[in-house]
Amino acid sequence: MDKSRDNFLKDINVESILGHDQEAQIDRNLPMRKWLYSWLLDPHIPGNFQKDLDKWISYLIIGNLFSLMFEHVPAVFEPNKTWFEFFDIFSVAVFTIEYALRFYLAPEDEEFKHRKHARFGFISSPFAIIDFLAVAPFYLKAFIPIDLRILRFLRLLRILKLFRVLIPALAEFKELNKDRTFRQKVHALVFPSNYGGTMQHIFEVFIGVWVILSVMAVILESVKSINYILHLQFVILDAVAVAIFTVEYFMRIYACVEEPGYKGAFLGRFRQAKNPSTFIDFLAILPFFLEVFLHHLIDLRFLRVFRLARLLKLTRGSDATAVLVKVVVREWPVMGAATFIMMLLLVLTASLGYLFEYDAQPEKFENIPTSIYWAVITLASVGYGDISPVTPMGRAMTSVLALLGIGIFAIPAALLASAFSDELVKERDQLKANLFAILKDGNISDAEAEMIRSEAKRLHLTVEEVNKLIEVVVKEHELEERNPLPIHKIAENPALAVEHYKVLLGQIRQLGVQTDEAQFEAAAQQGARLSSKELDLWHKIQGKA
């Protein structure tokens, strides 16, 4: 690899392309306050702890919300009172440290540093007032007796601290969607696009959290002792979750016409409604409405289990799921054939089992449908043992079928695994081809970096893997330069052929300039090395004819 190539590779910062965490470049010799601000609170320094701090504070706020909710359930609160108190003290300690830190570092903050009294500017800012209200009741109750309900209400104000994350995201969303219509803004919020920014990410996380909460509620509802205590809370949680999912569902249906391929007020929306992921959204809210409207007619308790379908909402945007679906669809004919053979073997096994065992065990091998259960359990190598053959013929047949079953049932799994692996290889090759095109000019534009970033994320590639791919691509470029295209490849493309001809003419002219004219003529005529026509052509190219 030559020196220029080394520089070329060195210039590519894969970590920054992939958006991976990079270490913040903060001068150690900065004054203490500035240094601390740069590490902890400066939103403009990539790689510092500002985002992590915001993230963990957000988690703590959400934890406080749950703690507050469970404090209203005596069966949960009373036995764990001490833990609740510890958590409250811990939260207040963290929030107080955060407040004190922001107060101390206010003179370094862009928002307050130009004011006469930066710290006063900080304490009178809306965010600081919210931060203060989040901790003040805790200290206040030490001096003034406050009603517990008021205290809990004041603690609820801690949720307002989330605005510290929400408001900048909202501002970014507004900026990104300036000069865009209302529907386009709704689209940017619910569908991944270049206009969504952090707000779209927050929206997805919000929906994800509610999916997990509602699924956990469905699972815990089945535990009678928990449901006995938290029944009311589960009812409220379900209603809130359905309200959120219903609004989300209609927002998707409304804004989907902004998606490529879903144009058309009615047809586009109908196509979106038929889309598997949107259908899952519909299934997630349907049980609630059916149960409310039809509970007096029929027992719809079984529908509650269908609320678990909400878990499938998490697969939206999951590239791995998309690849799996693609693979299953592609391999469907082969899978169908394997399934057909499986069914054939199953019916045959069940029929033979019935034939050989009915006389010996009429209560177990009662008919062929009953025998099918035994056949499935045997062929799938599960073998519960509740039904087993007792006749010599039955046992012999079972031995053969159990061995066959291992192979037959493994076929679809093997097919899927192999197709999945093929698909991944194909997609990586596609990325390699894209990288080849991108690196041709030795420069990676923002759009190209975005493409690499999204593809690397989709294919779950690490920095090292992308680095290796880039190295391979660079080597291929080198090889391409060292071994020019064969003449028949050049001849296939007339434009390329003309360019090649010009290069050859240039080389001949260069030869004419650099060689000694008299000696060249003598050598050409000696032993008739060049024919007279060839020599004339030489003169013409050199412009001497």
């Binding site: 209302f182 209603a239 609004v247 209609f250």
Partner: protein
């Protein structure tokens, strides 16, 4: 990545259009509808909670009485333990659950209980049956009879009926029927 970049130039009206306003109105309606349905669900759940409270009150009374009913000067003689009723005892004969129940419903606060599903006093049933909607909020009181060692189940549950003798230390289970007619176990206790 899906993007709506191509459509930005389609519309020049950047404020909410009539369709947008209609959509927002529809969304508000949806939220109101779901909230109302949620409130309906919540009220129904409150009825189940009230039924559970009824059951808990019975459990509390029976458990407390159970600790003293074998004493000579028990406060509730109708529920006194150790009084063996005759083999062909009637519902209100001494030493039967019927006599104790009549005493409870005549002299204690439990007589004022209301089944929130029907605004009537809760009644005792043999079993909660999902297909029978009249059993919502009813109380199921079962006597848990221990089975001989080695049995598949540790006890057999049978409804405590009015002619049953209560002369011995009993292991009881109290459940209430919920909105769907399923039993919610409140507690197992000694009486």
């Amino acid at each position: 990545m899906a993007s709506s970049t191509d459509h930005t130039s389609e519309s020049r009206h950047l404020g909410p259009t009539a369709t947008d306003k209609l959509f927002m109105f529809f969304l508000v309606l949806v939220v109101i509808a779901v909230t109302l349905l949620g409130v309906v669900n919540y009220k129904e759940a409150l009825k189940t909670e009230a039924s559970k409270s009824n059951g808990e009150a019975w459990v509390a009374w029976l458990t407390e009485t159970g600790t003293t009913r074998f004493e000579a000067d028990t406060k509730h003689p109708a529920c006194k333990g150790g009084v063996k009723p005759a083999a062909d005892a009637k519902a209100n004969d001494a030493g039967t659950w019927g006599a104790c129940l009549a005493h409870i419903l005549a002299t204690t606060d439990l007589k004022d209980q209301i089944n929130p599903f029907f605004d009537k006093p809760p009644h005792f049933v043999a079993a909660c049956v999902p297909s029978d909607r009249t059993l919502m909020g009813a109380i199921l009181l079962e006597d848990l009879m221990p089975t001989p060692p080695g049995s598949a189940t540790p006890f057999v549950a049978s409804q405590l009926v009015e002619t049953d003798a209560i002369d011995y230390k009993m292991q009881l289970r109290l459940s209430v029927c919920d909105k769907g007619g399923y039993a919610i176990k409140v507690a197992e206790f000694e009486f």
